[in-house]
Symmetry: C2
Subunit: 121 residues, 2 copies
């Protein structure tokens, strides 16, 4: 069973790491709004993946990992009502400035046992 995003990978896709810090007292509410955001975003056209994770070393730190097929898909995502709703809710939960970085890829490789790093698409 592969855990790759259903949309696969391609050059010029956009990989996002969105890091946030949330106080322990806000964790339950954060999990609720973040999980809803993930579900709604994964249903968007051009979304190859959208997940939220908690840091195993630092309990108040979280990261969103997203994959978007191209810039158009990302811009449509920004224009979605659920994105605005999420950012509003998130703003009230943050315990420090967020750091969302959007990487446009030149190439991607996958680690394949016995073969090393193999180009994807």
């Amino acid at each position: 069973m592969s855990q790759a995003p259903p949309g696969g990978y391609s050059a010029r896709m956009i990989v996002v790491t969105g890091r946030v810090r949330i106080a322990g007292s806000s964790r339950d509410r954060f999990v609720e709004v973040a999980s809803e955001m993930c579900r709604l975003s994964r249903d968007e056209q051009g979304c190859g993946g959208y997940r939220v994770y908690g840091d195993l070393e630092r309990p108040e730190h979280y990261v969103f990992v997203e994959e978007w097929a191209d810039e158009d898909a990302l811009q449509r995502h920004f224009a979605e009502p659920h994105t605005a709703r999420f950012l509003g809710a998130l703003g009230e939960l943050l315990d420090g400035p967020p750091d969302a970085v959007f990487h446009t890829t030149a190439a991607s490789r996958r680690l394949v046992p016995g073969q090393g790093l193999v180009p994807v698409d």
Copy 2:
């Protein structure tokens, strides 16, 4: 306080998402070996970040998020004794095939409030 990797971002850096599935019964051991791997890797030259996170929606799923300055740094990382040791330990804990994808970046942008997506470096 910025949560950006201490090494910053640059074009042609390598962003890694390493996804694994670990049974609940192996979680404690996984957290132990993964945390050690993160600490040792962050000390390597050219490592801009190396963190492990647990999926908030799917308890048995985890992701490593890594940033490497360039291909040389990544290859040195593969040659480290602690990398071999970690991969050996991880192999005994996996509950399904891992999926490690290595993205070489063409450009990176950061979301800045009021300014939108701003080029990094």
